[in-house]
């Protein structure tokens, strides 16, 4: 797949000596959705700000569509749209005018049809004549997206797009992201919500203390690091795990009526069949069986706490 954005050994040290980015290298593929996960202060926003031109890098290179963000900043920035984390809008201006301004600022001529299309897509058409200050928080976020899309970018950065928005709007945002992906837009989003990355990303990058810990296909990541558990629920309670089952490394639940077995989804043999046979041979009767897969959140916590090293 073609690389649309290439980051090489990007470093950013602020005047006070704080090293926000410690040599980040990353290739982003055209048309993918990449979720950048990381705790507060990990360097997610600095990374985005540096790519978009808001922060000057200390060293390293970034190219967007082959254009260097510093030497060829005009061509590079024309390809990029940015939806910032904070709601930053001119409160007295009308929705239509503020979106029109963004399009012009990026060097594109006025196009009423295009602006109408964007506003309709984001359910802002009815509000086009309203001043920004009259809109709800969710609507303001939509305006930020409309502004970022006004110049038809090929790469869209969404910095915590659903922070503080209600569930309904979050689902709407995900739908918008899906539509943009279908239109061929590459999307890089930072998020605190693991479920968001899990729901919409193709690849997941984990960043912490200015370093990119890993970037991996979401499914591969979950498969590689995800452990699965099977809970064997019994019809009766037992005081302890029978000796004949000891080699399965089972855990008895608090009530004593379920056995928990952890296995690796990638292993050649999961050992489930043997376990179930041994359980039956031990004279235990099954009431139910339930499986559970570790979430991206658990993987993330494991990574940033250093357990994965």
């Amino acid at each position: 797949m073609t690389t649309i954005l290439s980051i090489k050994d990007l470093r950013k040290t602020y005047d006070d000596g704080f090293e926000a980015l410690k040599g980040v290298s990353l290739d982003i593929r055209q048309g993918e959705i990449l979720a950048l996960l990381g705790p507060n202060g990990a360097g997610k926003t600095t990374l985005i700000s540096t790519i978009c031109g808001i922060t000057t890098p200390t060293s390293g290179t970034v190219t967007v569509g082959g254009h260097d963000i510093q030497a060829d900043f005009r061509a590079a920035r024309r390809m990029i749209g940015l939806v910032p984390q904070e709601i930053a809008l001119e409160p007295f201006e009308k929705v239509w005018n503020t979106v029109r301004f963004s399009r012009g600022l990026f060097g594109l001529g006025h196009d009423s049809a295009r602006i109408e299309e964007i506003l309709r897509k984001l359910s802002l058409w009815d509000k086009r004549k309203n001043a920004i200050k009259e809109l709800s928080g969710g609507m303001k976020r939509r305006v930020l997206i409309a502004k970022a899309l006004a110049h038809e970018p090929r790469v869209l950065f969404l910095d915590e797009p659903t922070a503080g928005v209600d569930v309904e709007l979050r689902k709407d945002m995900w739908a918008i992201v899906d539509e943009l992906k279908a239109a061929g837009v590459t999307i890089i989003l930072t998020t605190h919500y693991i479920e968001e990355a899990e729901a919409i990303a193709d690849r997941v990058g984990v960043i912490d203390k200015g370093e990119l810990l890993l970037v991996q296909d979401k499914k591969t990541l979950m498969a590689q690091m995800g452990k699965k558990q099977i809970e064997v629920m019994l019809t009766c309670t037992i005081p302890s795990i029978p000796d004949s089952l000891a080699h399965h490394n089972l855990v008895l639940n608090g009530q004593g009526d379920a056995l928990i077995y952890t296995y690796d989804t990638n292993a050649e043999r999961t050992g489930i069949t043997t376990l179930l046979n041994d359980v039956a041979e031990a004279g235990l009767i099954l009431r139910d069986v339930q499986t559970r897969q570790s979430s991206l959140e658990e993987i993330f916590v494991t990574l940033v706490s250093g357990d994965a090293a």
Binding site: I54, L82, E90, G104, G107, L108, G109
Partner: protein, 253 residues
């Protein structure tokens, strides 16, 4: 040059002006009328003429300059400070525009607004006194150059300021005294010799003198010196802005 972006910034800034057109129009009309009532009538009744020009007419160029300078500074400083305050500056910094284009957009709009107000004051003044403009081209050049140069200064103040108090610091503590002591309401020749010499260190004297010359052919300092002074001031402001944008001072981290 990204002229589309310059036009977008200019249009967006002018929109703020048009949203409050009534205030933009009425405020200078009212303040000019008040100046004529207070200065023109009260003081003018005691000072009949200054170098052959009625006192009311004499103060018109100074009054226009007073408003134009103050408005240029406030329009431009507010224009660039507001995006910094709101956080909307992220869009300017991430857009395919260079700093020259940003300056042209913001300073151009600020200067246009000040120019509009300057012309409103000029028209208002004609209702109170007889005005003649001996050198209309020079008048237009001085007016436009003043709007531009003080808008550049305002832009620098807007970049420098980190709160609203700082925004008014330079206009109130530096610019207002310089204008009032720069011969807005009097001719420098009316001062004692020592104060005449001291006044020559006030750059606004050159500005008002040159502007008044374009009206009545009267000047406290040679007209060429006035022109050089305003050009030098514009050059200094441009150099400072060039440095700000080269270093990203107070804009880019």
């Amino acid at each position: 040059m990204n002229w589309t972006a310059i036009a977008a910034i200019y249009r967006f800034e002018m929109a703020r002006f048009f949203r409050t057109l009534a205030q933009s129009f009425l405020s200078p009309v009212l303040s000019t009328s008040l100046y004529f009532v207070v200065f023109g009538t009260a003081i003018g009744s005691r000072i009949q003429q200054v170098e052959g020009v009625s006192y009311g007419a004499f103060i018109v160029p100074g009054l226009i300059m007073l408003s134009v300078v103050m408005l240029s500074i406030s329009n431009a400083s507010f224009g660039i400070y507001f995006p910094k305050f709101l956080g909307t500056i992220y869009e300017l910094l991430s857009a395919p525009v260079n700093f020259i284009e940003i300056v042209i957009g913001y300073v151009g709009a600020a200067a246009t607004k000040a120019l509009f107000v300057g012309l409103v004051i000029l028209v208002t003044a004609t209702f109170f006194v007889d005005i003649r403009i001996e050198h209309p081209f020079a008048m237009a050049a001085f007016l436009i150059l003043s709007c531009l140069s003080f808008s550049l200064l305002g832009f620098i103040i807007g970049i420098w300021a980190s709160n609203f108090e700082q925004m008014s610091l330079v206009p109130q503590l530096v610019v207002t005294p310089l204008i009032f002591l720069g011969g807005t309401f009097y001719s420098i020749s009316m001062l004692p010799p020592v104060w005449q010499t001291i006044s020559l260190f006030n750059p606004v004297v050159y500005l008002i003198s040159g502007f008044r010359w374009s009206f009545y052919g009267l000047s406290d300092v040679p007209i060429l010196l006035s022109l050089l002074a305003i050009l030098a001031f514009t050059g200094i402001c441009l150099a400072v802005i060039g440095w700000i944008f080269k270093t990203g001072w107070r804009i880019r981290s």
